[in-house]
């Protein structure tokens, strides 16, 4: 961004050439980067409070995002364990069941099969329910032979299609799959993602307001300085620069604090979550933001701080325009 200069007419001054202008621009940027940081450091408590407010506004949507991320992780694991159970007609004996099971295994879209004969099915049932006596009273086994089919593609739509196809094979009585709850989980996750996005937008606006208000006060306290530099020929960009850097610092600081708090919170929750997962016989680690998401969060918060400052200074500059 090179500062435009009008054609010098009348009073001509020695002006820096284009290269000198670029150097001057860089020099001022460097000076303001340091100066704005120094101003924040000189008032540590006020600075920390502002950054903390930003951090809290960032933690809520980021935290929700992490929770959803872990739900999706769980979802993926469940998808992998999605199987179909194919029940054969009652009159099919064991040898015929074995043959049919091999046919099923050769079907496209089927990754694996496991035959459960009628007797094995009854055994499993008895063990699962602990009702030996009641079932031993039965004259004949009421359960048909069945095959547990693991599909190639675990997505609900593919599994649904596979189940319809297998249901039409000869000797197959019915195909059972319980996908409804998987569906619901996925819909819930999608809903959660929208909520996180909405919260993100809302709290992003919050960050904008926090920074905007803080910068507005800073502008107010430096009103005379702005007036003077404007009178002696400062451009709007020059006036804006220190405040934009302040805003960016606030955003960056708030983002770093948010990352720190999220990490602390993660550590604090890790032990009970692991214990809970173990009691279900599952291994489950709390997800962390990771490097790329952390970088994204910092960029996002810095940008928001910068934008908030831009809005606050822009308002002031618009108010002081020559009439």
């Amino acid at each position: 961004m090179s500062e435009r200069q009008p054609a010098p007419r009348g009073a001509q001054r020695a002006r820096p050439g284009p290269a000198g202008g670029g150097r001057a621009w860089l020099r001022h940027h460097r000076a303001m980067l340091g100066d704005s940081a120094l101003r924040l450091v000189r008032r540590p408590l006020a600075t920390l409070l502002t950054m903390l407010a930003i951090a809290i506004a960032l933690i809520l949507p980021a935290g929700l995002w992490l929770v959803l991320d872990s739900a999706q992780l769980l979802d993926a694991q469940l998808d992998e364990s999605a199987t179909l159970t194919v029940y054969f007609d009652h009159d099919i004996d064991e040898s015929r069941a074995l043959a049919l099971s091999e046919t099923l295994g050769a079907e496209p879209g089927v990754a694996g099969t496991r035959l459960v004969t009628a007797a094995e099915g009854l055994d499993e049932f008895q063990r699962a329910l602990g009702v030996d006596d009641a079932l031993s009273q039965l004259e004949r086994n009421p359960l048909p032979a069945s095959v547990v089919v693991t599909p190639d593609d675990p997505s609900p739509a593919a599994v649904q299609a596979l189940s319809q196809r297998l249901g039409q094979l000869p000797g197959v009585d019915e195909v059972r799959l319980d996908l409804a709850w998987l569906d619901r989980l996925q819909q819930l996750a999608a809903l959660g993602q929208r909520v996180a996005l909405a919260l993100g937008l809302l709290f992003g606006l919050g960050v904008l307001l926090v920074v905007g208000n803080t910068i507005r006060l800073a502008v107010e306290s430096r009103r005379q300085e702005i007036e003077v530099v404007t009178l002696i020929g400062a451009t709007h960009a020059f006036v804006r620069r220190p405040f934009l850097y302040s805003g960016a610092w606030y955003g960056l600081g708030g983002g770093l604090l948010a990352l720190g708090i999220l990490a602390l919170g993660g550590n604090w929750l890790a032990a009970p979550v692991n214990a809970l997962a173990e009691s279900y016989g599952a291994r489950f680690a709390l997800p962390t933001l990771g490097v790329s998401n952390s970088v994204f969060l910092l960029l996002f918060s810095t940008l928001l701080g910068w934008l908030g400052a831009w809005l606050a200074v822009g308002r002031h500059l618009a108010e002081t325009k020559p009439r």
Binding site: G10, G233, A234
Partner: protein, 222 residues
């Protein structure tokens, strides 16, 4: 250097601060602008600084028609003008050197060159030995001289001063005026708004007198 052509300025549609002002100032002139407070001196200066725009007529400064100057060009226009304020408008959070260097910082003058010019300006107003002092440590007269150093550090073609001796005793006022005459002698056009009639009478420069927004006299001091 400056030309006012049928310039009028109204505030809020009713109050007429300036009415049908016509005058020309040649390059290298030195002149005073007088009148009671409220006569329109400040409005006239604000028009030249392009802090306000005329309601009627044209203001031309250094070849610029100020009404046609785009807002983004205004800063560059202002850099050609040095302004001395009555209340000197120094920044109290930085030392004398930084205050005087401010116009050069804004223009992005290379620090080495800027330091040279700042020292030259401070030397001219006799305050070179105070460059590291804070404005608060200086007397009123010294603060005003710092304000003048800041106004001239950029070697402007036009120097405006709004009541530069308003708060000073006669001896200090005379010193300040002598400074302005020195700058005028090296070719700077100087326009000073003042109601210090005794001082103006002694200096024998052209005087513009305003009364209730009208130019009632334009000529040598009586």
């Amino acid at each position: 250097m400056i030309a006012f052509e049928h310039v009028g300025k109204r505030y809020g549609g009713r109050f007429e601060a300036l009415a049908d002002i016509n005058f020309r100032v040649e390059r290298g002139e030195m002149l005073f602008l007088t009148g009671h407070s409220g006569a329109g001196k400040s409005s006239l200066l604000r028009l030249i600084m392009r802090l306000e725009r005329p309601s009627r007529g044209r203001v031309l400064v250094a070849g610029h028609d100020l009404d046609r100057l785009h807002l983004s060009q205004v800063p560059y226009y202002r850099r050609q003008i040095g302004v001395v304020f009555q209340d000197h408008q120094l920044l109290f959070d930085r030392d004398i050197f930084a205050n005087v260097a401010l116009p050069l910082t804004i223009q992005g003058i290379e620090p080495h060159e800027a330091a040279r010019r700042v020292r030259a300006a401070l030397d001219k107003v006799g305050l070179l030995h105070r460059e590291r002092a804070l404005p608060i440590e200086l007397s009123t007269g010294e603060q005003q001289r710092v304000g003048i150093a800041r106004a001239v550090v950029n070697k402007p073609a036009l120097l405006l001063a709004d009541e530069p001796t308003g708060n000073l005793d006669p001896q200090l006022s005379a010193d300040i005026m002598r400074l302005f005459e020195d700058f005028n002698r090296i070719g700077t056009t100087v326009l000073i708004a003042s109601h210090d009639l005794a001082l103006i009478a002694r200096l024998r420069h052209r005087v513009l007198k305003l009364r209730e927004g009208r130019l009632v006299r334009d000529g040598e001091a009586a």
